[in-house]
Amino acid sequence: MAVLVDITKCIGCESCSVACKLWNKLPYGKKKSRKQKEEKDLDDDTWTVIQRKRVEAPSGKGYTRFVKKQCMHCLEPSCASACFSKALRVDPETHAVVYIPELCVGCRYCMLACPFEIPRYQWDEPLPLVTKCQLCASRLKDGDAPACVSACPTGALTFGGRDELLTKAHAIIEKDHRYINHVYGEKELGGTEWLYISDQPFEELGFKTDFEDIPPSTYTHAYLSKVPFLAAAWGLFLAAISWRYYKKHKNDPPKPPTPEEETREAGNHGEGDGMI
């Protein structure tokens, strides 16, 4: 299931982030131990946030836009591909990227892998978990929209099937020439469930726009799929060398046994200058 964000309609009321906190039972308040950044950003208790962006148009006019930030729910998520204990995975029913805390080891490879830099860690906990938006997967299973979408008063967020929303997004862009002709999330890194349309250039709004159209896990798969064969070939090669060597030297006369050096001897022990 997907969500379409029409940035032009967002008024920055933060209803969505409050709804997110309420539904996911996340506490309010600032973190004590971590330095807080100037700009509002995600943290382990804030899974979605509205960031205010000021865009200076070439005409000299300035525009204020509000950008909702949360997990993009990639179709081919890097985090799930990177998770070595399957704690992050794509929910087969809803296509949300969900987190199963019982399986997590806390290696934080997902955080390194995520191209959108979304997952946050509970740095203040003794046994910390990874946190991120889970697209309210439990609500989705009941047929509801995610909490943030349900709470949006301006219609900036639309929930639905991804193909249907893509068609809709392109229809909106076609109808109104003020929109940028680009649906962010349609092709980026193989596509994401969250789609954005905007009347201001995406790079000005803090979006990373130099992504390839293939998911980053492509490179990992290309590598990992070769490993077993290379390892097997390498093992056979080494075994063959050892076998040949053994055949060749099997009939060599045994070496005379070297006298057991039970007495302590340390060679030319006058020369050392080490201290360990």
Partner: protein
């Protein structure tokens, strides 16, 4: 006043324990590490580390794990030459290289254990297979390889303890050696493979689709350099001399591989048209140039020039290569993904990394003094020989 003699050797139940001033310092550092480790395990990351969401992997992963595994590559690269390709003359360093690798891997496991947040869950990947992850492969390979190394080292241990096991160990040794040559090749390269997925976040000079191959090659050539550094330390402390011709030839094998590495990097940069990044003059490109010149080009000049016939030449080469590879690993984690620079390791993070290395040095000392590792005989600290009348 009689000067306090801190060089002592105690024999407890037939085992020798040497005390030197340096070892007392190392012991204190290891003790400090143990205290910090306990605090870390009980309270999480908040008091001990400076890790942030922007830099989820800090000093422990980059130094203890990435550098640790690379520097412990001495074991497999020597084993590959001696047991794989049957170049028997390098056998003199095989045992000490094996020991350094074993200790290195145990320290890597310790570092990893401290770095994972939910440490009581460390065994999860054994049952919940995230096989699409490179880390999954690394995790399995390092676990298996540490086991193999431990078994291989039983060849040395059973010479003194559990002697009845010795013939059996010798029988399975060829199999162990071959398995022990497959796994390190896999995970050395896979450590580079970890970064494949972070393409969009990395400075292009450090990212390449053949990053795993770079990691593999660099771990191979740093192996012989590390063996050389370690032999030098053993010579200083135990008077155990390795023939300098053998040392030079061994490092030259590494040097030749390093030349191939350099050529590959140059071809790679040319093919991807990245020369512009090299001379950008920014912090990232400058560090890249430093890494390549200091860690690759200067050592290559040293090792293939007459300087290699001087003892300090080989040693300088080795230290530069070791520093170069350490820089490369740190650069991959920090410099390549540098954003705001919020992260700098805390005192405690350094204390753990230093303490782990100290613990490794101490254990190395105890083992070489009690087992036949250096030159196939037991070693004795030369200060002990000079300053005590134990022998």
């Amino acid at each position: 006043m009689k000067k306090l003699n801190l060089y002592r050797c105690y024999r407890i139940l037939g085992w020798d324990f040497t005390v030197t001033p340096a070892r007392i310092v190392l012991l204190c550092l290891a003790g400090l590490m143990a205290c910090v480790a306990v605090v870390r395990l009980l309270t999480g990351f908040q008091y001990v580390t400076h890790l942030t969401d922007e830099t989820p992997w800090g000093l422990w992963i980059s130094f203890d794990v990435l550098c640790g595994v690379a520097l412990a590559g001495g074991g497999y690269s020597t084993a590959l030459l001696v047991s794989g390709f049957k170049v028997k003359k390098y056998g003199v360093v095989a045992r000490s290289a094996l020991l350094t690798s074993l200790l290195g891997y145990i320290l890597v496991m310790a570092g990893l254990f401290l770095d994972i947040g939910l440490w009581p869950h460390f065994w999860r990947p054994f049952v919940s297979w995230g096989y699409t992850s490179v880390l999954f492969e690394v995790f399995w390979c390092i676990s298996i390889y540490t086991t193999i190394l431990t078994l291989e080292f039983h060849e040395v241990i059973t010479e003194r303890m559990f002697k009845w096991l010795h013939p059996y160990i010798l029988k399975i040794l060829p199999v162990l050696v071959i398995i022990g040559l497959i796994f390190p090749m896999m995970h050395q390269s896979s450590l580079g493979g970890l970064f494949l997925i972070a393409k969009s976040k990395m400075f292009p000079l450090w990212w390449s689709p053949i990053l795993p191959l770079y990691f593999l090659i660099s771990s191979f050539f740093v192996g012989s350099a590390m063996v050389c550094v370690e032999s030098d330390l053993a010579r200083r402390n135990y008077g155990h001399e390795v023939d300098s011709d053998i040392m030079r030839q061994l490092t030259r094998v590494g040097g030749a591989i390093m030349a191939i590495y350099l050529v590959m990097k140059i071809v790679d940069i040319t093919m991807h048209d990245e020369w512009g990044y090299v001379f950008l003059g920014t912090m990232q490109s400058n560090l890249y140039c430093l890494e390549m010149v200091l860690g690759i080009i200067i050592p290559l000049i040293i090792i293939f020039s007459p300087l290699a016939y001087k003892k300090w030449g080989v040693l300088t080469y080795s230290w530069l290569v070791v520093i170069g590879v350490v820089m490369n690993r740190l650069n991959c984690v920090f410099t390549a993904m540098y954003k705001s620079g919020d992260y700098f390791p805390s005192v405690f993070e350094f204390a753990v990394s230093i303490g782990l290395v100290s613990a490794g040095c101490l254990v190395y000392g105890v083992i070489v003094e009690n087992f036949n590792v250096l030159g196939n005989k037991r070693a004795t600290q030369h200060h002990i020989l000079q300053k005590t009348d134990l022998l």
